[in-house]
Amino acid sequence: MEELISENLYLIILLPLWIFLILMLGRFFAVYINKTLTHALTLLSSAMGVIATLGLYKFFTPDKIYEYSYPFLKINDFVVPFGIHIDRMSLMFTSVLFFVSLLIQLFSISYMKDKKKQYRFFALLNLFNFSIAGLFLSPNLFQTYVFWELAGVVSYLLIGFDYDQFKKSVAAKKVFIINRIGDTAFLAGITMSSYFLYEYAPVKSLASLSFFDINTSSVLIGAYTSRPLFLIICWLFLTAAIVKSAQLPFYTWLQDAMEAKLPVSALLHSSTLVALGIYLTLRLLPFYTLAPIVLKSATVIGILTAFVCSLSACSQTDMKKTLAYSTSAQFGLMFFAIGVLNIKAAIALFCAHALIKPMLFITIPNENEKWNYTNFVLFLIGGLSLSGVLFLGMLSKEIFVYSLGTTGKTLVTILSFLTAFYITRIALVATDKNGLEKGNVNIIEILSISGFLILNIGIYVYLRKIGVYKIAEPFWAAITAWISVYILYTKQGFYKIPFIYPLCHEGFYLDKLYMTVVVGTYNKIAKLSDLFETKIFSNYKPALLFSKCGVKTVCWIEENVMNRAVSAIVSFSRQVSTISKQLQTKNVQWYNLYGFMIITAIISCLVLAYIAFLAYIEGVG
């Protein structure tokens, strides 16, 4: 049974891809596809994923690895295999992924009820599942990279789903391009590390870089880890991870991703796109443990992000934005956990977040609509859980704090306080803005939310039974925060601290900084290149002007060597042509005169050369 599922797991992974193809091609070739069928197929694929991965989970002890592959690229001895690598971690991530997407797809059915282009939406959701699952189960870094990119593209397509709305499409573009920075770093990391391993470790698989090799070779390369190249490699991988997980210098894309539809946001924030960073970091831990400075910096980045984003979240008035900042903050916490090598905590935090975040997203009201009581209550339950008061959220914090020193404990406590603070605050602000109402609740929504809740509680209960952790400081901090928000809240809203409030509200102006400095510089470079192109390469008059400014040598090269070899010849021959034309005087006597002159010149040269030759002979003689 175990073997059977393991061998055929790739079929489960490919199922979303098939469904994507069926939906897209079916629609493209104008075959009518029933909506119900669309929904059913989508849910089916996710459900199959959940069943298969959860079924496998219990067979896999922490040390067991199952792997198979076929050669995707083959150039002589350079082989890149594609395949499936199953171990506990990948199963854990995949099962969470499938579970969360199953519930979110369920929610999308109600969300998309009256909207157009459902088939495309669900098809893309399927493709998204495929790319993320493929990444979690990939046996080597190269395949990871392939799916990493694919995930970026699908998220781009999902965020820019409504392409006729300019704002949304621009946001999608921005998200994609910022993610591309991470991809670039990833590819650079792959290239350099494969070179590094090829040079210094007996791993001769060139670029494929299987995780198995990374585990084994990390022992062998120990002697070379002081080389700057190794540090650079680790830094590059870390960059890729922090871009995807929306950490400090790059977290701004997550705000833009909020332009997406609600289910998509829920999916992006929980177990898919942002989770990739954590996954990659966990996979590459054998490298990072060899470079403590990189781990330290991951910790610092995590903590900084957590603080900056929490503070920013505290000052938002838009619910979605608050949730976006909160995601960054939570993932900062996970990086913190990884940085101090508390893997259990990181995974626990991840699971908690993956199960809670979609719940929060699903329960928030639409814009300018009243909040339904049921949703409000469920939102508060989710918020409590996220800030560490209830269920898995509480437990994950406990696991984390358990291993930390006092400084760490303090930091986590403060962060818990802030989390609880902004969740409560935004709930209050939202209710105050539009008010609460007793509305009908959609059955499907309740179904999906309860799914999240049940799993949340279920895992909590399961872990609580076997765990030895006890209630820790973050719990109390969160409780304090909940109470303090209610106390601080007045009819006029919250007091806004000057300077700090606007700073936090704008996300520490990082986005504006990027837009002005980075994008501005980029545009300037592009304009400059274009200017160079049109003025220097296509027209050399400004080059002459340039020479007057004093850079004559540069200009000479421009004019004579680089600048249009042909046009130089053409213009030169035009100048000679003028002379040639002037020679043609129409009077035959002139023509003979040229002949006379040339003959005289050549004969006299001849005579002079002869005389010189004679003199030379005499001198030698």
């Binding site: 150039i75 990119e149 694919l150 820019g160 499409s169 070179y195 290149s529 680089m562 070899a565």
Partner: protein, 493 residues
């Protein structure tokens, strides 16, 4: 079997068809001209597929034409000989494919002088097939020169309803640039031929028989430089590139597809044949320098492309940028690099043909190519938009499409190159292309298609079946090679 697998037939059949169409014997009826030439292109495409099926990497096709038992020019040891090896096979296949789809797409763009247009298109195909299959330097050079004549007429010709005066200028610019390059190349060929004869005493111009070992290094350097300049104009390497944006922008759409899809590759192919294969020891000296040029190509033109407002110019500059990547792969001077380079030739050939096709379709319907006035046509043309999205994503190197494979392979090959630190550094420096290319290509997609609907473009129609077939086949090709790269890589020796 020998008669069936005949390279001269492949090369000269389009030429004969071209003369036949041009001759007064053939009708002036535009529909029959179009159908006839389309069927010729289709036939050649099928024939190349047939060749592909027959092809065996270990035994490349070789054939030689002798006239009454004599060689072509015995005084120079020139034989009219042809050879298709793995790389040649791939490029021949690409050529026949791109020409086929450009012939299909000609229906919408070509409104006048059909007879002349199609015969020139066939002649151009014949010349390019000749370049890819010639195994003798002088025969290669002959086809290289022959290519200029039809290319000139196709770029500058009078084929659409509105007259384009810019087109003529850019056609002349193109011809002068390329001719200058080919003259320098001729110098190189003559020198190589002479010195090979002097040192080895065998009078030959065959690629596989040229013997360079005993030629003095300084001469070899000169010869290599000549070749690099000659092919660098076509490739184009940066300071020699200014003909390209003009020619590509002003040419009719099918011709832009051919120019960017195939013609640029002849430059890369030339560098491969002459510098990489024949002058390989000197190429190792040149490679780091060329790699720097390739980097300039990649990064600089990517920025320039971003600043363009004409969608066709964006695509044109992106071609230069991608050709830099191909050059970088060659400079790596290892097996992976060669594979990456040839793979990227194919991939980029398909992508750029598709992109120019899209530009042409948009221009045909909106009558503008300015990025600031375009926009919002996606909802009117969902099918075009879907295909355009796929091709744009392919062009920026998204997995599952062919360019992704070649981009990654290029970077890896440069990293594993034995030619010093320069190439390793350039592997890393070339990487931001991923970011910059996505900037300009997404700008192309967003400003061209997405956004709010505009009044001006409210009535335009979606693509016709012809156009759909062209674009869909491009996408299919990209997906095919992106998902099964081994299909292509297996053929490159």
């Amino acid at each position: 079997m020998d008669i069936l697998i005949s390279i001269p037939f492949l090369v000269f059949f389009p030429m004969l068809a071209s003369f036949f169409i041009m001759s007064p014997l053939f009708t002036n009826n535009e529909i029959s001209i179009r159908r006839f030439s389309k069927s010729i292109f289709g036939f050649i495409f099928l024939y190349t597929i047939f060749l592909l099926v027959m092809f065996d990497t270990a035994n490349p096709f070789i054939s030689k034409i002798s006239f009454f038992g004599l060689d072509w020019i015995q005084a120079l040891g020139v034989q009219f000989s042809f050879k298709i090896d793995g790389i040649g096979m791939i490029l021949v296949l690409l050529t026949s494919f791109i020409f086929f789809i450009s012939a299909i797409s000609s229906k919408m763009n070509i409104r006048k002088n059909h007879k002349f247009y199609y015969s020139m298109l066939l002649l151009l195909m014949s010349a390019i097939l000749g370049i890819f299959t010639a195994s003798d330097m002088f025969v290669f050079f002959m086809f290289w020169e022959l290519e200029l004549i039809p290319a000139y007429f196709l770029i500058g010709g009078d084929f659409s309803l509105e007259t384009n005066t810019e087109a003529k200028k850019s056609a002349i610019k193109f011809v002068l640039f390329t001719f200058l390059g080919s003259m320098v190349m001729l110098l190189g060929i003559l020198l190589l031929h002479y010195y090979s004869y002097m040192t080895s005493q065998t009078l030959t111009a065959n690629f596989s028989e040229i013997f360079t070992e005993r030629i003095p290094v300084i001469i070899k350097l000169i010869i290599s430089a000549c070749f690099i300049i000659g092919f660098g104009v076509k490739l184009p390497i940066i300071p020699l590139h200014t003909w390209l944006p003009d020619a590509h922008t002003n040419a009719p759409t099918p011709i832009s597809m051919v120019l960017a899809g195939i013609m640029l590759k002849t430059g890369a192919y030339g560098i491969f044949r002459f510098n990489y294969q024949i002058m390989n020891d000197v190429f190792q000296i040149f490679a780091p320098v060329l790699a720097i040029f390739a980097l300039v190509n990649i990064i600089y033109t990517a920025f320039v492309a971003y600043a363009q407002t004409d969608i066709k110019r964006i695509v044109a500059y992106s071609s230069i940028s991608n050709m830099g990547l191909i050059l970088l792969g060659l400079c790596a001077f290892n097996q992976i690099g060669l594979n990456a380079s040839v793979f990227h030739m194919t991939a980029h050939g398909l992508v750029t043909a598709g992109l120019f096709m899209i530009c042409g379709i948009v221009y045909l319907r909106c009558k503008t190519r300015d990025i600031n006035t375009l926009g919002g046509i996606a909802s009117n043309m969902p099918r075009l938009f879907g295909l355009a999205t796929l091709i744009v994503l392919a062009s920026i190197g998204v997995p599952a499409f062919a360019p992704f494979i070649s981009e990654v392979l290029t970077v890896i090959s440069a990293m594993f190159s034995n030619l010093g630190i320069v190439l390793k550094v350039s592997a890393i420096v070339a990487l931001p292309l991923l970011i910059i290319s996505s900037c300009y290509m997404l700008k192309f997609l967003h400003c061209g298609f997405m956004g709010e609907k505009q009044e001006a473009f409210a009535k335009i129609n979606d693509i016709t079946t012809h156009e759909f077939i062209v674009l869909a086949s491009v996408v299919a090709g990209l997906l095919l090679f992106g998902i099964f790269p081994s299909a292509l890589l297996g053929m490159i020796g």
